[in-house]
């Protein structure tokens, strides 16, 4: 079977090389059948990659330890679910997942991207082939999941932190995001190569970009929740380089989603949009490089591997090539339209773009600096939490404010009188919230009060936008409020879906501010019967219980929680000792309070031989709003992604002449 996997990967690589070479030739010389053939090669390579993926899955399911990958990442005791998700638990498998997802995206984007025009599409195929060739090459020659060995009796098992249900969903979501950013990149490059820099490439990739961005966002939130419930340090985001690696392209893609609206409405920022697409794609490859190369120390990184230099070469080649192409086509990207006023919707989008890109680049510097300093001085300097927090506050808080300001400002220009009228209620709500928060003692964290005040301003402006829009639609159509509301959203899905996403970001900000700026932490060594108090909760340690599971021994501390005299329940923080992996994991216990949105978070830092426990207890106010934000985010993204028949008809009419399959 490994031979079949290897053969499938070689077939995939050959087809991708063909799509790259023949596709380039076809687009350059204008050969129709060759272009079709190159497109078919992309489809064939996807089929071949599916075969390779099935071979690996089958090997995992059968515990075939003659596959080195299976032996390195699973064991016989590992439950079937985790055995299968070990597909992406290691470096080689995750690269195969990259290629698989890229194949799916490539086929779907090319088959549905007719609107880009046959000439643009002809160049999109070799660009997708180029990216695919790199990953297929890595899988065939550098890091194969089909390397074999003498079959062992058992495998090494899976890292305990990966033995979590989130393992099934977090990595695939992130990959759908990372890899999905290849589609707008390929169409942007296709537009530049074919010298067709009108809006067709944007129209063709609008949904793909939005979907990739949404997947990346959801993937990060799932990762944050995974870290929260599994890693056992009491937080959800640690500015780990690999967490940052997913955040950076997401920020760049967020900037693009905003600035592309200015291009669509005003015909401006065409160069900037190209730069953002290139930046988002290069950062997504950089993120993969960080995870796969082992160049940094991170809980996510796989072992030091030979992939680093290949990835670095690919990133350099892609960046230099795409930036060079943008520069070469600058004359085609110039526009006559200028910004009419610094107080306008497009200006707020521009400010938002600058802040998002600045945040992405400062995070990039924080990630890269230790690597550079190690390369130059031989010692890795560390960039720690205060650095990131400083820039998060410097750029994130103004972004939060801009999210409230943007929807209230008109396109082109806004007069002071109109601004005064539209800002009145959100400003009043924000000021009132600020005063109440200070009166309640929230002034212990200045950043927290600012974040909450800006959040209230943002939420008020979103609510006002929906209310005013519904009212205007009601006056226009003479219908009731519900009908006016649904008509408003249905006619402007991207805008109102975007507002719902904004609301999710506000919820996220409130949750992050509450759980970080206002959290309470207590630590104590407790013997059975001892008590500690955290944020009004009395914790009584009762002793330990131990049980054997299929692949680990679970030790749990028994902690009874009281509020005053009221018994709130027994919570069981502890540790798991994994046999095959010879590792110990922290298993936290969390008491959710649905009424306040806060959590009591218990960690068994140390299980002592004398029967005592080193218990760490954190009271995290409003932390559950972060997870609620995830659901709101999905809702907003779905509204924005939902097809709009009216818009489709308009675009069909616009591109009637050019929309023909290659």
């Amino acid at each position: 079977m490994p031979d079949l996997g290897r053969a499938a990967l070689v077939t995939s690589l050959l087809l991708l090389v063909y799509a790259l070479v023949a596709g380039s030739l076809a687009a350059w010389k204008g050969r129709r059948r060759l272009a079709e053939s190159a497109q078919n090669a992309l489809i064939g390579s996807f089929a071949a990659t599916i075969v390779a993926a099935v071979v690996l899955l089958a090997a995992l399911a059968r515990h075939d330890f003659s596959f080195q990958y299976v032996a390195d990442h699973t064991s016989r005791e590992l439950p079937l679910g985790y055995t299968l998700t070990a597909f992406w638990g290691g470096q080689e498998g995750s690269l195969l997942l990259w290629l698989l997802v890229l194949g799916g995206y490539s086929v779907a984007a090319v088959l549905t991207g007719k609107r880009a025009g046959r000439d643009v599409l002809a160049w999109v195929v070799p660009v997708l082939g180029f990216v695919g060739t790199f990953f297929a090459f890595m899988l065939v020659f550098v890091s194969s999941p089909f390397a074999t060995q003498r079959a062992l009796a058992d495998g090494a098992g899976l890292t305990p932190s990966l033995q979590n249900p989130y393992m099934a969903i977090h990595p695939p979501m992130l990959y759908l995001g990372y890899v999905g950013l290849t589609v707008p990149f390929a169409f942007a490059m296709g537009a530049l190569l074919s010298r067709r820099t009108d809006e067709r490439w944007i129209v063709a990739t609008r949904r793909w970009t939005l979907a990739a961005w949404a997947f990346l966002g959801i993937g990060q939130l799932l990762g944050a929740h995974w870290a929260y419930v599994e890693i056992g340090w009491g937080g959800y985001y640690a500015w780990d380089p690999v967490e940052n690696a997913a955040l950076m392209p997401w920020l760049a893609a967020t900037a693009f989603l905003h600035s592309v609206m200015i291009q669509e409405r005003r015909g401006m920022l065409r160069v900037w949009n190209m730069v953002l697409v290139v930046l988002a794609f290069c950062l997504s490859i950089f993120g993969t490089f960080l995870t796969r190369s082992g160049v940094i120390q991170s809980i996510h990184s796989f072992a030091q591997s030979p992939l680093g230099s290949w990835f670095l070469g690919f990133i350099c080649l892609t960046t230099v090539g795409s930036v060079g192409l943008v520069l070469l086509r600058l004359p085609l990207l110039r526009t006559k339209t200028r910004l009419e006023s610094l107080v306008s919707r497009e200006a707020t989008f521009l400010y938002n773009n600058l802040l998002l890109v600045a945040l992405a680049l400062t995070i990039l510097w924080g990630v890269v600096y230790p690597i550079l300093s190690e390369a130059v001085t031989g010692e890795a300097a560390s960039v720690s939490k205060p650095y990131y927090n400083f820039f998060l506050h410097s750029f994130g808080l103004p972004l939060l404010l801009l999210m409230g300001i943007g929807p209230l400002v008109a396109w082109r220009r806004a007069s002071l009188r109109a601004l005064g009228r539209t800002f009145l209620w959100p400003l009043a709500a924000a000021l009132a919230a600020g005063v109440v928060l200070l009166a309640l003692g929230a002034g212990s964290s200045r950043v927290g009060v600012i974040a909450y005040t800006f959040s209230v301003f943002g939420l008020a402006s979103i609510v006002l936008e929906f209310a005013r829009g519904t009212s205007a639609r009601r006056a226009l159509g003479g219908v009731g409020w519900p009908a006016a509301f649904s008509s408003l959203v249905a006619r402007n899905r991207r805008r109102y879906g975007g507002y719902v996403v904004h609301a999710s970001v506000v919820l996220l900000a409130i949750g992050v501010a509450g759980s970080s700026a206002y959290q309470t932490v207590r630590e104590a060594r407790l013997k059975p019967g001892d008590t500690m108090t955290v944020a009004g909760n009395r914790l009584v340690f009762r002793g330990f219980e131990t049980r054997m599971e299929s692949n680990h021994r679970a030790i749990r501390g028994l902690v009874d929680v009281y509020r005053g005299d009221k018994y709130l329940g027994r919570y069981k923080p502890g540790k798991n000792e994994y046999f095959a992996e010879d590792q110990i994991s922290n298993e936290v216990s969390i008491r959710h309070n649905p009424l306040t949105g806060g959590d009591l978070f218990l960690i068994a830092d140390q299980v002592n031989a004398d029967g005592s426990i080193d218990l760490k207890a954190l009271q995290k106010p409003l932390v559950n709003l972060i997870w609620l934000a995830g659901f709101v985010f999905v809702g907003g993204a779905l509204i924005a992604l939902w097809p709009d028949a009216r818009e489709e008809r308009r675009l069909a009419e616009r591109y009637a002449g050019a929309a023909v399959r290659i």
């Binding site: 031979d3 076809a26 053939s37 078919n40 090669a41 071949a48 009108d198 067709r200 082109r412 009212s471």
Partner: protein, 109 residues
């Protein structure tokens, strides 16, 4: 091993067939050129985009006015040029359509 060989061979054959399909389906063709929009079509597309942008801007202005984001004074000042721009884009598109039709009639004849 045999199953792997058979599946591998089938995969390779299917892929070769898929890649060769355009040439097998049309072994010899009169015109193998990849059609590209000519100057006329490109101009029409640019005008259609301009028209859509102008109409969207007008619609947006109306909506912003109704929701109070644009004052009456600003609305009066902005709506004229936007209407003129939209009308110009529509006119240019109509003219282009007429020209295209005229140029294509002799070509058919």
């Amino acid at each position: 091993m045999t199953t792997a060989l058979v599946v591998g061979a089938l995969l390779a054959i299917a892929c070769i067939g898929l890649v060769a399909l355009p040439f097998l389906r049309e072994p010899s063709v009169r015109d193998d050129r990849l059609a590209r929009p000519d100057e006329l079509e490109q101009r029409r597309l640019a005008l259609a985009e301009e028209r859509d942008r102008a109409l969207a801007a007008l619609k947006e202005l109306e909506f912003d006015h109704r929701t109070g984001k644009v004052s009456d004074d600003d609305y009066r000042e902005l709506v004229g040029p936007l209407r003129a721009h939209a009308a110009e884009a529509l006119r240019a598109l109509d003219l282009r359509a007429e020209h295209t039709a005229e140029e294509r009639v002799p070509a058919r004849g």
